[in-house]
């Protein structure tokens, strides 16, 4: 296995761990959704790039890149739908003053 792909995968894992810590630590839905979007955008990107590099040129690499493109196109839509539903149903965002 290439040293470069190991570096990529470890960096991706770091961002995934940070996102999980954020999901547990942060105070309300809106700020937790930021943590989930951090996972999607950078953690998944680095991990999948590392795995694609490990696979080498070919159909498998192309398929992994297609999964990555799908994640990048679809995940903002899901996050936006959830946050919009939370906002429209009358949830108030957490503020620093009233804590």
């Amino acid at each position: 296995m290439d040293i470069l792909s190991i570096i990529f995968i470890v960096a991706g894992l770091f961002f995934l761990i940070v996102a999980a810590i954020g999901v547990i630590r942060l105070p309300d839905v809106f700020s937790r959704s930021h943590a989930v979007s951090l996972t999607d955008s950078l953690g998944a990107f680095l991990m999948l790039i590392g795995i694609a590099w490990h696979e080498g040129l070919g159909t498998n690499m192309l398929k992994i890149l297609v999964v990555l493109a799908l994640l990048y196109i679809l995940n903002p839509g899901i996050t936006h739908a959830t946050v919009r539903a939370a906002l429209r149903s009358g949830l108030k965002p957490w503020k620093k003053e009233n804590s």
Binding site: F15, V18, I21, G22, R25, L26, D28, F30, S31, S33, H34, A35, S37, L38, S41, L42, T59, L62, K63, V66, Y72, I73, P76, G77, T79, H80, V83, R84, L87, R88, P93, W94, K95, K96
Partner: protein, 168 residues
Amino acid sequence: MATRTRPISSEFLFLKAMALFVVWVLLSASFAWIHLGLGFICSFAVAWINSGHSPFVPKFRLWLRILLYLPWLFYKIVQSSLQLTKLILHPALPIAPQLISVETKLRHHAAVVLLGNSITLTPGTITAEVDRNKLIIHAMDKTLAEDITSKQIESKIADIFKDEEPDL
């Protein structure tokens, strides 16, 4: 058969069918004639059933400009990811979430979609509500909110769509 409210654009039908066909080939990964023919028929059938939804057919030069815009967007993503990582790992959790409402000057459906998607993709800022060209954005921090209010992303997207006809 249901009646259609809008005439079918043959160019759009062709592009949609080709996109579906490319996905078919990638998923099946076999080049036997029977599989290719089945995929061709299926993709045209699906595209025809779903045709008449979008009146906007992106031109080639627009795709090229969007492709050139992506590396800059990725640079922004990395920058704000590091900022958000610092916020989350800080022991005192110094976050200051706020809702900001922004009015854009973009006069194009696709441009507003691209702007909302870019804002949501950048960690730390999420588009919570879109109404024509007013956006409500939830931002995590003051510096992350300044990225939105300084309208960097919007000016880039206005640059991409400067030759298109406004339809909003």
